[in-house]
Symmetry: C2
Subunit: 553 residues, 2 copies
Amino acid sequence: MEVTRKNFKESLNTIYTAIEEADFLAIDGEFSGISDGPSVSALTNGLDTPEERYHKLKKHSMDFLLFQFGLCTFKYEQSESKYVMKSFNFYIFPKPFSRSSPDIKFVCQSSSIDFLASQGFDFNKVFCNGIPYLNQEEEGQLREQLEDKRFQSNGAQSFISPSSCKGPVSVPEEHKDFINEVLDKVEDLLNNSDKSFKLEPCTGFQRKLIYQTLNWKYPKGLHVETLENEKKERYILISKVDDEERKRREQEKQEKEQEELNDAVGFSRVIHAISQSAKLVIGHNMLLDVMHTIHQFYCPLPEDLNDFKEVTMCVFPRLLDTKLMASTQPFKELISNTSLAELERQLKEAPFKPPKVESADGFPRYDTASEQLHEAGYDAYITGLCFISMANYLGTFLTPPRDHISARSKLIEPFFNKLFLMRIIDIPYLNISGPDLQPKRDNVLYVTFPKEWKTSDLYQLFSAFGNIQVFWIDDTSAFVSLSQTDQVQIAVNTSRYAESYRIQTYAEYMESRLEEKQNCRRFTECGWLNSVNSNSPGGECKKKIHEFCSRNQ
Amino acid sequence: MEVTRKNFKESLNTIYTAIEEADFLAIDGEFSGISDGPSVSALTNGLDTPEERYHKLKKHSMDFLLFQFGLCTFKYEQSESKYVMKSFNFYIFPKPFSRSSPDIKFVCQSSSIDFLASQGFDFNKVFCNGIPYLNQEEEGQLREQLEDKRFQSNGAQSFISPSSCKGPVSVPEEHKDFINEVLDKVEDLLNNSDKSFKLEPCTGFQRKLIYQTLNWKYPKGLHVETLENEKKERYILISKVDDEERKRREQEKQEKEQEELNDAVGFSRVIHAISQSAKLVIGHNMLLDVMHTIHQFYCPLPEDLNDFKEVTMCVFPRLLDTKLMASTQPFKELISNTSLAELERQLKEAPFKPPKVESADGFPRYDTASEQLHEAGYDAYITGLCFISMANYLGTFLTPPRDHISARSKLIEPFFNKLFLMRIIDIPYLNISGPDLQPKRDNVLYVTFPKEWKTSDLYQLFSAFGNIQVFWIDDTSAFVSLSQTDQVQIAVNTSRYAESYRIQTYAEYMESRLEEKQNCRRFTECGWLNSVNSNSPGGECKKKIHEFCSRNQ
């Protein structure tokens, strides 16, 4: 089901129900770009630490817009041994909701846009009919503004709005006659049986004078509003109101304001509902999806990876990445290609079984034969299919074997909260709910050299050491991994008197980086670099999300 | 006429002809945003110098994409006393043309996108079918690559491509039999009367080995190419070629490469044609249009305003801004609102005359009654109408009066190369072909104060000095202009012992800014700030554009 600004409000209950009744949820996002710095291959060093990878993605990917979000809910029907699926394909755009609302800027990467265009992506749906959203801070500010307004309007004053003036109004000489006429008419109104009267159309400045004057002279008992006649001219209508009428209007106004707030929060409400459901959320290669979702709908990402993990656990208490699952035993040996489309294809064939999944009544069917890859709703759907096939395969190991393994089964717990890390050779996943793997890397060297060097120069330099692997860091440095750990010290020793290049062990390199980081922090704390570095919003974000999560539990 | 990637090539001659025969051209651009920094009102201080304004626009507006370009050509038909108009509405997008081509990132501002969406803008046409383009440097690089390739392929070597290996090929053991079989077949081919033979489909690695081996063993006389069979499997076809055949193929290849280069240069060819025509180019409030056009299709803008002026004169030797014209005598007194739609409306009424303009055969008609404002082609069209009405009005001052004033008339020369400056109170235009106006501003004060201050605090501070105007610079500073120059020194004197605020004359302020700038430059030259500031591409750009212009004259 396609959801845009046009049908978002009427679809919300359907969406909430689908989330509430689901056994698990699958998600996917499409973005306006991937990297605003180096190319993706340069961005991903095979020997990145999880911290380094997180920082690179945070730095180079978060200025893009998540503009399509796929949500697919799966509910198991015991009686028919099948899943019933509801899929939603949301178009998202930060349409400013008022003059004072944030005017978001986002980056587009032409290769990503061109790729989506080639897949038939409908940009008009995003930009013309995308659902707006607010992050936690923006929502909080808007809520406060609203509460302030209500607090101030405790009396009847706010009835004559816009009110900004609290004392006698200074009316310019040339408007005095006009205002006195209006005051005479108001006196007449208060002393006769009419309910209201209209003024002739007048200028914005005159209307302001009327509001201010009446606000000061008649703080209670009058309702003043600006209307438009059929010629599009603006005029003022002044009405008498009694206490009951006043309360009714006040309540109406509050309800309207609350609705406007909800409209502005927009798509973030869907993410809040997913979060509050605490259901298992499945994605394929989902680290960027999770980062974007938190960044866009909650808060700018924290500086520190551990803070990010904490925030993520708070927003999505149970995550499962099908790319990581497919790359792990017992699937690793059976699956040759873990890209989403290939995985889905392989998981329909022996030893796996195609999952029994049907679309719920009123929801469109996706046909995996005519692929609609890279539509977020479809990608979320086949991610769900992959999970079901793999989960059920785990059931074949039980005695007696079982055909269906539920999303609550202990068998899938080992795969929880481990997000696939692209192209890191010895750390397959980011562990969201605990410390990360720390491979020793004692066969790895850190080499610096002149910027003219190419990979072949490194192969030549290490030609005596058998097979090596080269991982470029930048123009003048790379990691080189040797096949044998005991040769590391030999390599370091041979380089001692070299002039053009330098070799360190991985451990030495990591230690010097740590020192650098600590020095850098010391300078920052002294205010030395304060003008260069902007303040990290990380801690603040963590606090806010914790408040949010505890409020909703 | 709408021009996208789909019909760009077939439309080029029509476009060139229209430019060539025109008396003048009108242009307009639509961008993906206006300011990525402060809001537009904060960006434009009423007392900016031209240099400051240029730097602000360069800093905060150039990361957006010019994605729709309107060009309207006007040709006067003497015999029928009317203009014949051809309008083109181009959709533009930097689609990467190959894997190694630049992957442009651009910013979108949600308020601008939302505004265009509300006007019915078709984003799919931009992103799916936008015409690509290259700037001068990218075009130069591509051209060099091509020339290098031709130079290298002086022999027949390039016929066996892709070639990267120049020596004997090391064929892995397991492929040796396969390669030897291929070599036997090649020997057979060379010794029999066949023209060519096919190999069975094989892997990419095997194909690479074949290319490399044949490239080394048979540098002349063989043509090797990879084709696809009906099962989409790739196979190799090996053909004998004689000298004549070789030359024909070489020429074909060069023509194809030249065409690919032209395709990549894409929309920039239209801008080059406009530039080379040296025709009068009209725009409405056109400074940003000119800046974006140069930035996107020629080179990153120079740091220095004077360099920018030089570059602009080189690209567009004659410019005319209808907003500036309408704000200047004799039009200033007659025209109350110079926004494009309002101007067009007023210039149809007395004392002006609606211009006689018809669409050329085969070109769509624009109807000014059903406005299509903010489509670049339409905006360019009504900009042209405004120019014609105003130019003709100047003819009424002649004796005898004349109904038609051509784009070549001396009467319009006073309006040349003066681009409207938004919201600067005493410098109406940027003078592209000379030094800018230098108003004295001797009634202006520069005031710094605590960031809690509001406009009302400034009004209070200066309450003894009659009417003042306040121009905010940032949170803690503003210009204040007094109505009387002789009070400036009094104001400065009274502030001498003030602690919370400080007042300087405008002249003092400008002098201290100049010193700051010079100090800053000195540091930069010492390399002190080199790591912070990126190198300015200004000088390089100027040089390149000059080369380009002289090449084309």
